[in-house]
C-alpha cells in the first residue's frame, strides 16, 4: 500500500526538524537537548531496521492480540442504512490502543540500554500500559498522575501499583493530565542518563509526535487492509476521538493518501459556549501557543496562560493537541468536531445495548459524532470508527452519570464492609 503522505511526515526542511508547518518543534529546557537528540537517532535507526518492525509486530501479536479485528455494527448499520465498522483497539492488552505505543517505545528503550521508564497518565490507561510493559521488559517504572485523575480512576492506580510501578499523585496546577506531563518532564530533566520518558500521546517535543504516530500507525495499516478484505472498498469516512491525538493519528495514518474523509472528535464537555470543554480545534477557546515542549493549538487566555479544561473522560481532558494533527487540520486534510458529555453518555448506552460492546468514554466521543451525522449520510456510506478502548475502567463515572441506584448501594455496602 502507498503511504506517501505518511512518509513525508518524516522529512523536514533544513533547520525545521520536528516542525509540521508552524507546529511541533522542541521547545525544551537546554538540559534535555542531548537526550532528545539521542532519542531521535535511536528512533531513526530502529525505523530503518526492518528487523525492528518485525520484532515489534511479533510482540504485538503474541502479547497484545494484534491484529485487532474489525467488527461491523449490524444493528446500527441497519437502522441508518449505512455500513458502520469498528476497529477494535479495545481488544488490545490492557484495553486500549495505548499498548501499541508503549511496547514500541519499550523495545526502543531496550535498544538504548536504559533501565527506568517514567510516564504521565490521564485516564490511567497509558499508565497501566506502561507499567505492564515495564514489568514484562524488566524496567523500573514511575507514573505521574494528576491528583484529580487519581480520584477519578482509582482502579487503574491499583493495577499500576500491583504491576510494580510507583504512582505519584501530582498536586500542582489543575492536578490533571497537563500537570502530570510537567512533573514527568521535571523528573526526566534530572534522570535522563538512565531513564526514558514514555510519552503517551502524539504531543511534547520532537521526536515524540512522530515516534508515537509511527507506532500507532499499526492501527491504520491493519484497518486499511481489513476494510479492503471485508468490505471490498475503503471507508468513506474514518472517525476517531482526539485527546492528545494518538489513536486518531494511528488510524488516520493508513488513509492519508486515500480519498477518505478523516474526522477527529474532541471533548465538547458541557458545550462549546461554556468554556467547560477540551475542544482545541472545534471550539473557540484555543489559539497557537508553546508549552510542554511543543507548539500547537492550546486552550489558553489572551496572555498565554493555560486555562482549565473539562471532559467527562479523563483521557480527552487536555489543553493541547498533537502538532501533526493541528497541521493536517489547517491544511484541510482532517475535519474536527466535538461531542458533549451528554451526547457521549447517550452514544455509550447505544453501543452497549445495540452492539454488545462496552466502549471507553473517550472512544464514545467518536461514536457520538457518527450517530449525530448518520441521519444525513447518503445510503450505503461506509464509516469506520476507531474504538480506542474498552469502558470497564469508566464504571464509576458511568454509573454516576446514569445515577444507577443499585451500583451506589453496592458501593455503600463495600465501604461499610471495609470499615
Amino acid at each position: 500500500m502507498s503511504m506517501k503522505k505518511f512518509e513525508e511526515l518524516f522529512q523536514f526542511e533544513p533547520g525545521r526538524e520536528g516542525f509540521y508547518g508552524e507546529y511541533g518543534g522542541a521547545y525544551i529546557p537546554e538540559i534535555l537537548h542531548e537526550t532528545l537528540a539521542e532519542l531521535t537517532r535511536a528512533f531513526e535507526n530502529a525505523r530503518r531496521d526492518p528487523a525492528f518492525w518485525r520484532e515489534y509486530a511479533e510482540l504485538m501479536g503474541s502479547y497484545s492480540c494484534r491484529p485487532t479485528p474489525i467488527t461491523r455494527c449490524d444493528n446500527l448499520s441497519r437502522q441508518y442504512d449505512i455500513d458502520i465498522f469498528l476497529k477494535r483497539e479495545d481488544l488490545n492488552h490492557t484495553g486500549a490502543h495505548k499498548a501499541n505505543n508503549v511496547l514500541g517505545q519499550g523495545l526502543l528503550v531496550r535498544r538504548m540500554g536504559k533501565k527506568r521508564v517514567i510516564a504521565e497518565t490521564g485516564a490511567g490507561q497509558h499508565g497501566v500500559a506502561t507499567a505492564t510493559m515495564a514489568a514484562k521488559l524488566g524496567f523500573e517504572c514511575t507514573i505521574y498522575m494528576g491528583a484529580v485523575d487519581v480520584e477519578r480512576q482509582r482502579p487503574n492506580v491499583f493495577w499500576m501499583e500491583q504491576l510494580g510501578a510507583q504512582v505519584v499523585a501530582v498536586e500542582d496546577g489543575t492536578r490533571t493530565l497537563k500537570d502530570a506531563i510537567n512533573a514527568a518532564m521535571r523528573d526526566w530533566c534530572a534522570s535522563m542518563a538512565d531513564t526514558h520518558y514514555v510519552l503517551g500521546t502524539v504531543c511534547g517535543p520532537h521526536p515524540f509526535p512522530l515516534m508515537v504516530t509511527y507506532f500507532q500507525s499499526i492501527i491504520g495499516r491493519e484497518a486499511r487492509d481489513q476494510m479492503l478484505r471485508i468490505q471490498g472498498r475503503l471507508p468513506d469516512r474514518v472517525y476517531a476521538c482526539v485527546g492528545g491525538g494518538s489513536n486518531a493519528s494511528g488510524i488516520f495514518a493508513g488513509f492519508l493518501d486515500d480519498k477518505v474523509e478523516l474526522v477527529g472528535v474532541e471533548a465538547g464537555g458541557l458545550g462549546l459556549d461554556t468554556h467547560q470543554h477540551a475542544a482545541r480545534i472545534a471550539g473557540h477557546d484555543a489559539c497557537a501557543g508553546v508549552a510542554q515542549g511543543y507548539r500547537t493549538y492550546f486552550i489558553q487566555d489572551a496572555e498565554g496562560q493555560m486555562r482549565e479544561t473539562h471532559s467527562i473522560s479523563a483521557g480527552l481532558d487536555y489543553i493541547g493537541v498533537g502538532p501533526i494533527l493541528a497541521w493536517l487540520h489547517d491544511s484541510g486534510r482532517i475535519r474536527f468536531a466535538a461531542a458533549t458529555d451528554q451526547e457521549v453518555i447517550q452514544a455509550f448506552k447505544t453501543l452497549v445495548r445495540q452492539e454488545g460492546i462496552i466502549p471507553a468514554l473517550e472512544s464514545s466521543h467518536a461514536i457520538a459524532q457518527v450517530l449525530k451525522e448518520a441521519p444525513a449520510m447518503p445510503r450505503g456510506t461506509t464509516v469506520l470508527i476507531n474504538l480506542s478502548g474498552r469502558g470497564d475502567k469508566d464504571i464509576f463515572t458511568i454509573a454516576e452519570a446514569l445515577a444507577d441506584e443499585r451500583w451506589l448501594e453496592f458501593l455503600r455496602r463495600k465501604v461499610a464492609a471495609a470499615g
Binding site: 529546557p29 537546554e30 508553546v290 515542549g293
Partner: protein, 259 residues
C-alpha cells in the same frame, strides 16, 4: 551593554551575586522589599520571573510561587509596570525571566519593545533553545537588549559552542541536571564543567540552580563570575522573614567579596 557593566564590576569584586524573584509572589509589595534588601546588600543583577501556568524547568518552591502569583492576578501589564518602577529606583540591571509562551503570545517585537520601555536589560527564557530563539534574539539586539542563553552540564562541546553564538551579556550555566530548587553539591565536576563553558564563550559566566550557601560562593570564586541564587532566597523569605532575608543576602555578598 550588560557585558561592560559586569566586566566593570568584576574589577572590584571577584564574584558577583545575581538574585531572583517571582513577580507577584508573595505580593508585589513583598517583591519591592526584596529588591530593597538586594540593593542594600550590593547585589549586582536581578531576574524578575514572569509566572507561567506550565513551568517545566522549575522545582516545587517556584512551581507553587508561579501558580499563586497567577491566582493573585499577576499579568503582563502589572509585570512591566513593576519592572518600570524598579528600574527607576534601583541601579542594578533587571532581566526578564520566564517561559516562551507569554512572549510568543505578545509577539517578539512587542515583547522587546515592552521590555525595553520598562527598563529591562535582557531576558532568560527557560524553554526556548538557541536555534528557535534566533528571530527574537535579532529583535532584542536591535532594541539594545541582551539575550541570555543557558549552558548545561549535559551539553557536548559542539553544542556549547552553538549556544555561545547568539549569547550576549553573560552565559547562564546550569549547575546540574534537574530543575530549580534542590541543593547542588559543588565539586570538581562543576569546576571542570565551568572550564568547558569558558572554552566555548568569552562572555562572563554565571552559575545557577541549587546554589545556596556562603561556602558555595567561596568555592565558586575563580571559576564563575556570577553566582545565581534563586530558590534559597525565596525559602528564607517564606520561612524566616525579611530580616533573615537581609542577613542572608549580606552574608552571600560578603562571601563573594575579596577575602
Amino acid at each position: 551593554m550588560l557585558e561592560d557593566y559586569l566586566r566593570n564590576k568584576l574589577q572590584s569584586q571577584p564574584l558577583l551575586v545575581m538574585t531572583h524573584l517571582v513577580a507577584g509572589y508573595p505580593s508585589l509589595e513583598d517583591n519591592w522589599r526584596m529588591l530593597e534588601a538586594m540593593r542594600d546588600a550590593g547585589v549586582a543583577l536581578v531576574e524578575l520571573q514572569f509566572p507561567f501556568s506550565e513551568p517545566i524547568a522549575d522545582g516545587p518552591v517556584f512551581v507553587r510561587a508561579n501558580q499563586l502569583a497567577l491566582q493573585q492576578g499577576m499579568n503582563g501589564e502589572r509585570y512591566f509596570d513593576f519592572m518600570r518602577r524598579a528600574a527607576r529606583e534601583f541601579e542594578f540591571p533587571l532581566l526578564y525571566m520566564g517561559y516562551y509562551n507569554p512572549v510568543f503570545r505578545l509577539g517578539g517585537q512587542r515583547f522587546c519593545d515592552a521590555l525595553k520601555d520598562a527598563g529591562g536589560r535582557g531576558y532568560i527564557i527557560a524553554d526556548l533553545p538557541p536555534e528557535l530563539a534566533v528571530d527574537l534574539d535579532v529583535k532584542a539586539r536591535e532594541a539594545g537588549l541582551d539575550p541570555i542563553h543557558l549552558m548545561t552540564p549535559a551539553n557536548s562541546e559542539a553544542r556549547l559552542r552553538e549556544i555561545a553564538v547568539n549569547a550576549a551579556g553573560f552565559v547562564y550555566c546550569v549547575a546540574r541536571k534537574g530543575v530549580t530548587g534542590r541543593q547542588t553539591a559543588l565539586g570538581l565536576d562543576v569546576t571542570d564543567y565551568l572550564d568547558r563553558c569558558r572554552k566555548a564563550t568569552g562572555l562572563p559566566i554565571g552559575l545557577g540552580f541549587g546554589i545556596r550557601t556562603t561556602e558555595d560562593l567561596r568555592q565558586l570564586k575563580g571559576h564563575a563570575d556570577i553566582a545565581i541564587i534563586g530558590t534559597a532566597c525565596l525559602e528564607i523569605w517564606e520561612q524566616e522573614g525579611e530580616q533573615a532575608y537581609r542577613d542572608y543576602l549580606h552574608a552571600l555578598q560578603k562571601a563573594a567579596g575579596r577575602n
